[in-house]
């Protein structure tokens, strides 16, 4: 399979010089800790990112919203269970209802599931331990705003860092998700095989990330915002943000 040299490929894309900057909102809950990483990732790509405090009732004018990782509310009761009732989540639900692009990462995935904006739920890692390591992701559906820029057969090497990252959905939900192309990414080996031993947390079918039926809300447990520069280990996460940016450009 062809592995594109990520940094070269991406720098080529960035040279296509589009003057307009898109505006990404990054939600901030008490206990979010990857909010800064999300802002960092967007800025590295030359666009704007703004924090949106959880008590805000309106998102303002944003092109897309990121729901970041961390331990919102200490993961008390269940990860994401309390954050989903924050005032800003009502605004987010409206934004999503109107077709706005939403990407959740890690705790963001947990919050979006708790809020019912995505199907399924995240439970304790099968190992019962926190897992922090780099994994390979294989893209299952390249025809979404979150995956359209990812080259065919491109594996993405990104870090995970979670204790409750095991994705669960019951049989009928999974069937429906599969038939609507809602499974976006799966854990794979370095050779691209989706195998049990590449699965770091026991997620059903090795699922790492999903989207809703309408295809505008997505989330994944791995951290693409922590893989946007080779200097810190990998730039492969940029493909996901590039996809969003490309989708926004196409929509203009």
């Amino acid at each position: 399979m062809t592995q594109v040299d990520t940094e070269t490929e991406l720098s080529t894309i960035s040279d296509q010089g589009n003057a307009s900057k898109f505006s990404f909102g990054v939600l901030q809950f008490p206990g979010s800790n990857s909010d800064q990483d999300c802002v960092n990732a967007i800025e590295v790509l030359g666009h704007e990112a703004h924090y949106v405090w959880h008590k805000e009732e309106s998102l303002g004018h944003l092109d897309a919203v990121l729901v970041p990782g961390g331990f919102s509310y200490g993961d008390y009761l269940r990860a994401g269970a309390i954050a989903r009732f924050s005032p800003v989540m009502r605004a987010l639900a409206d934004f999503a209802e109107n077709g706005g692009l939403v990407l959740g990462v890690c705790n963001g995935f947990q919050i979006l599931c708790e809020a019912g904006l995505l199907p399924g739920a995240l439970i304790l890692n099968r190992s019962l331990q926190f897992r922090s390591e780099f994994v390979h992701l294989s893209t299952v559906n390249s025809d979404t705003p979150f995956t359209k820029a990812i080259p065919a057969d491109q594996l993405m090497r990104v870090p995970i860092a979670h204790g409750e990252g095991c994705y669960f959905a019951d049989g009928s939900t999974l069937n429906e998700m599969e038939s609507h192309g809602q499974i976006l990414w799966k854990y794979a080996t370095a050779q691209g095989d989706v195998e049990d031993h590449a699965n770091p947390n026991g997620s059903v079918h090795g699922i790492a990330g999903v989207c809703n039926k309408a295809g505008n809300v997505a989330a994944l447990m791995p951290h693409p915002e922590r893989a946007c520069q080779e200097a810190i280990g990998s730039a492969d996460g940029q493909w996901i943000f590039r996809s969003l940016i490309e989708h926004l450009k196409d929509a203009k």
């Binding site: 269970a81 959905a169 019951d170 026991g202």
Partner: protein
């Protein structure tokens, strides 16, 4: 027909027991089961690890009952992966 509404103001405790749905993998339950087996506790066939909440309430029992059910369903448990049951104590 007029149904008299009895408004009873009480102090109550409610216990909420939340358990993982049978269909959901319960690695914690598995780990505890294995440990018990290793420790020599024969006859333990299965273990499920869940959550326990105890709420102290004051108010009208009838309306509290439906409010608590709603809270359980909406917030205290996650219906995708959990079942719950409620035990009232006066």
């Amino acid at each position: 027909m007029m149904v008299p509404v009895r408004f009873e103001w009480q102090i109550m405790k409610v216990k909420i027991i939340i358990t993982p749905k049978k269909a959901v993998l319960d690695p914690q339950g598995q780990a505890v089961l294995n440990a018990l087996e290793h420790m020599g506790y024969d006859g333990v066939k299965d273990v499920h690890v869940g959550r326990f909440l105890e709420l102290e309430l004051s108010g009208d029992k009838a309306s509290m009952e439906s409010r608590i059910e709603e809270a359980c369903h909406r917030f205290l448990s996650n219906p995708v992966i959990e079942d719950y049951r409620v035990e009232w104590e006066e």
